[in-house]
């Protein structure tokens, strides 16, 4: 146990040396750090509770997405029936307990409908060979056909929704890409958002809460100017005739009331190539300038050419922000929207429009925001507490085991702290406030392995063994309990990591790293120190 080959010594010292190099950048000012070679520039990643920032969990409203999927499917079915050469006649097509039920007039109609419905069922993911179909079509009786959206399709929609939401959020919150945001899916229906540093949290929340669903609709002038129709339309479900819907004017528009518009449109937020906020070219208000992509520009040109002297309504999140009169066909694919904006609100809206619409509503289900000043306090407190803890433990070890063995234990302890810092820097793991607690706890517990060994050596010496023999046996006999004890603690730490969340994970990480490092420093590094001392001194008795 006390013999170390030359190569082994080199390896141990090399590991400690590299650890030291990795840990040092944390103590250097930023300038000196930049001069270091690549891997040694890394420092410990501070968690949001230490550097300040906002941590949020956003929950995607998946049920609304699924409802929307059903509505789309129903529209597609109706369209397909209408376009069919040999048109099947229906009694109704309606959503029914999360599926769509089509009741046909006769058995023959249902026979005709079946292949049409089956043709609508497409592979969920066209890029995959064996992809499941989007829908399942069941003939329930002679006249009833049930169309179910498959689980695979729902899963696909869910993933797409989360993915798209993350993209939109990133562009909205950090349009210039310099905030070092973390945006990641968390579980099935949540998105983790972390914004480090001091930020305007209320502004960020505003951008999360807005859907920014923009669309351009033709106004049904006949109904909109008909008092009777408007009265009906103002009550839910806001419909007078099929395909039309009433929308109110937004508060910032200032017009009051609302209009009945044609609900279907192809001009949506997806058409936008670019938008920007700016001053109104004539008045001193503000406008949002926009330009469409080519396909939509053509479509918009056609739509305006056919409807001169009618109005079109620009609807944002269920409210009409403006409804200008079409004076001539708009073929250039660009224009501006007035809507009682201020320069600031116009720019905000342009930013949201450029980022795209959120596919579903998001709810902030968890928020933890820490001001950088509080984080700095925590770091300071952590430093003081670990300093004092370290000093106390060191003095205690000297008192218990004397200068020689006390120093060995304390060298092992300091190396342990350095190696924890090195591992945290190297792996880029995040240090949280509970993580600091983990380190301080490790300071207390790390000496355990050395205590075990030294106690054993004492015991063996007391039993009359020679120094070399006592140390040899001491290390040998302590090995099993040290490993057992540390592996069990490691099990607890790993469990904590996998089941815990947020800052608690940070604690688990430092605790686990601390345990592994403490075994290395006490069992290997300290043993090397002891062996070197023994070989140099060849003591007759042990100062323990």
């Amino acid at each position: 146990m006390l013999f170390f080959s030359r190569s082994k010594i080199l390896m141990i010292l090399g590991a400690v040396f590299i650890g030291l190099l990795l840990a040092i950048p944390n103590a250097l000012p930023e300038k000196a750090r930049d001069a270091m070679p690549g891997p040694f520039q890394r420092t410990i990643n501070l968690g949001l509770d230490l550097q300040g920032g906002a941590h949020m969990l956003l929950e995607v409203d998946l049920s609304s997405i699924l409802d929307q999927a059903l509505v789309n499917e129903r529209t597609a079915i109706n369209d397909a029936f209408r376009r069919a050469d040999d048109r099947p006649r229906t009694e109704f097509v309606r959503t029914d307990e999360g599926t769509i039920l089509a009741r046909m007039r006769t058995k023959e109609d249902a026979d005709k409908a079946m292949p049409i419905l089956q043709a609508l069922s497409q592979p969920v993911d066209p890029t995959q060979l064996n992809s499941a179909k989007t829908t399942r079509v069941n003939r329930e009786s002679d006249k009833n056909i049930r169309v179910t959206i498959t689980d695979q399709n729902i899963e696909y929609i869910r993933k797409q929704t989360i993915e798209k939401s993350i993209g939109v959020l990133g562009r909205r919150i950090d349009p210039n890409g310099n905030l070092e945001l973390i945006l990641a899916p968390e579980g099935d229906k949540r998105i983790l958002l972390q914004v480090p540093g001091a930020q305007n949290i209320d502004e960020i929340k505003d951008r999360i809460n807005k859907s920014a669903n923009l669309s351009f609709h033709l106004v049904n002038e006949k109904d909109s100017t008909n008092q009777k129709a408007m009265e009906i339309a103002m009550e839910p479900p806001h419909r007078v005739s099929a395909g039309d819907k009433y929308f109110p004017f937004s508060a910032s528009n200032g017009q009051g009331g609302g209009l009945i518009v044609v609900e279907r449109t192809r001009i949506t937020g997806d058409c936008l190539k670019d938008s920007s906020g700016g001053p109104h070219p004539e008045t001193n208000g503000a406008v949002v300038n926009f330009s469409f992509n080519v396909a939509c520009a053509t479509e918009f040109g056609r739509m305006t050419a056919r409807n001169i002297n009618k109005r079109f309504a620009v609807i944002l999140d269920g409210e009409i922000i403006t409804a200008p009169n079409i004076r001539s066909a708009i073929t250039g694919g660009s224009g501006y929207i007035e809507g009682g904006f201020t320069l600031e609100s116009a720019r905000d809206l342009a930013l949201l429009l450029n980022a795209g619409a959120l596919p579903a509503k998001l709810e902030i289900v968890e928020e933890r925001t820490v001001d950088p000043s509080l984080g700095a306090d925590s770091i300071r407190a952590g430093k003081v507490a670990s300093g004092i803890g370290l000093l106390g433990v060191a003095i205690f070890m000297w008192l218990s085991y004397g200068l020689r063995f006390g120093t060995i234990a304390n060298l092992a302890l300091s190396t342990n702290i350095i190696l924890i810092a090195a591992a945290l820097s190297l792996f880029g793991s995040t240090l949280t406030l509970p993580g600091i607690a983990g380190i301080i706890l490790t300071i207390g517990m790390a000496v355990d392995a050395n205590v075990l060994i030294f106690e054993r050596i004492r015991e063996e010496t007391y039993n009359g063994k020679t120094p070399i023999n006592a140390i040899e046996t001491g290390y040998k006999r302590s090995m099993a309990p040290i490993l057992d004890a540390n592996i069990t603690t490691l099990i607890a730490a790993i469990t904590l990591y996998f089941v815990g969340s947020g800052p608690v994970r940070g604690f688990a990480v430092t605790l686990a790293i601390g345990i592994v490092m403490s075994v290395f420093t006490a069992v290997i590094f300290a043993r090397l120190l002891t062996a070197t001392w023994l070989r140099g001194k060849r003591p007759k008795s042990l100062p323990i």
């Binding site: 509770d49 929950e59 949290i201 709810e363 902030i364 289900v365 968890e366 928020e367 933890r368 820490v370 001001d371 000043s373 509080l374 700095a376 306090d377 925590s378 300071r380 407190a381 003081v384 507490a385 004092i388 803890g389 106390g392 433990v393 000297w398 218990s400 004397g402 200068l403 020689r404 509970p434 600091i436 607690a437 706890l441 300071i443 207390g444 517990m445 355990d448 205590v451 075990l452 106690e455 015991e459 007391y462 040998k476 090995m479 099993a480 004890a485 069990t488 603690t489 490691l490 099990i491 607890a492 730490a493 904590l496 089941v499 815990g500 969340s501 947020g502 608690v504 688990a508 100062p543």
Partner: protein, 330 residues
């Protein structure tokens, strides 16, 4: 170089008759466990918002805050159940402009009574808005240092996860000890751990210190720590069972506990040293955690001596069968 004199805490061969008092210890432990369960079922725990859902903000007012005005403002806002807690800023605390904070900070917590259903959508966020607006109107400008909002969806999950993590850790540890030792040891260790966890929950029920996520972390660490202690004693028992083939079991246990006693005490003391530093200097966020851990070190040490080892007697550890084979060396 001359070595300084050595402080020996204990005689080299202490022979404290721990095993003889096992019945008293057992009675004490059973009483404490019953007491803890009673406390838990009658008083319950003071759950933090991690587990109940709710909103907590920590604010820094321009001068020492007026508690009465804040309470009145909260009642005006309709948050009768709100908690208001003045806290001393940690040593050397600076405000957002880098000036030292000389007055108390305020921690205000609200837990919404009903947050379910459609109306609950964003209710917590709404409450946070109302709270900030309303306070600004009644006590003027203040600076928010910390905001925590946990919705009921999340808190329910955190509660489930917390219970699951403790149960899972106990189970995995049982498996490991079983694999390394014999079943009596595994069962004894897990009994001792359950004892520690129950007593820790009992203390939190007694003191009504806020029980939150970090306390779960503390409990799991206590599990790790206490197990550490227990395994060391068990390891020595296994070794001594081989060494003293003729010695009666109670005596073997006693010798083993005494053999490891100085280590047990030394490690507990160094750990306590670090924890007390954390408790005193670590700031509010870590107070509960370090309190739980300090308690855990005491309970864990006690249980490995007075619960885990005597349990081997009660579980009728058989010699020979369990002690076969050489100690595993690594």
């Amino acid at each position: 170089m001359k070595d300084i004199s050595l402080v020996r805490i204990l005689p080299q061969e202490p022979r404290v008759p721990f095993i003889n008092v096992r019945m008293i210890a057992a009675a004490l432990s059973v009483l404490a466990i019953i007491g803890s369960i009673l406390l838990f079922s009658t008083r319950g725990l003071n759950y933090g918002i991690d587990f109940t859902g709710g909103t907590v903000i920590e604010i820094n007012t321009s001068a020492d805050p007026d508690d009465a005005a804040i309470r009145a403002a909260l009642i005006d806002l309709g948050y009768e159940g709100a908690t208001v807690q003045g806290i001393q800023p940690p040593v050397g605390a600076l405000d957002q402009q880098g000036n030292p904070i000389t007055h108390r900070l305020m921690r205000i917590g609200i837990q919404l009574a009903d947050e379910s259903g459609e109306a609950g959508q964003g209710a917590q966020q709404q409450a946070l808005e109302n709270l900030k607006e309303g306070l600004k109107e009644s006590i003027g400008e203040f600076y928010v240092r910390n905001t925590e909002v946990v919705g009921s969806q999340v808190s329910g999950e955190l509660r489930r996860k917390g219970i699951m993590s403790v149960a899972l850790a106990l189970l995995m540890v049982l498996g490991y000890i079983w694999f390394r030792f014999e079943w009596q040891f595994g069962l004894g260790a897990v009994f001792a751990l359950a004892h520690d966890v129950i007593l820790t929950i009992g203390v939190f029920s007694l003191t009504q210190i806020e029980f939150n996520l970090t306390i779960i972390a503390a409990i799991l660490t206590i599990v790790g720590y206490s197990l550490n202690d227990t395994v060391i004693v068990y390891d020595r028992i296994r070794e001594n069972l081989r060494k003293f083939k003729k010695m009666p079991l109670p005596q073997v246990l006693n010798v083993s506990i005494n053999d490891t006693l100085s280590r047990t005490i030394l490690t507990s003391l160094t750990t306590l040293l670090a924890l007390v530093a954390l408790y005193v200097l670590g700031g509010l966020a870590l107070k509960g955690f370090s309190f739980a851990m300090i308690w855990g070190v005491f309970v864990g040490t006690y249980s490995s001596i007075f619960v885990a080892s005597p349990l081997l007697l009660a579980l009728k550890l058989k010699r020979g069968v369990n002690t076969g084979g050489e100690p595993k060396e690594v």
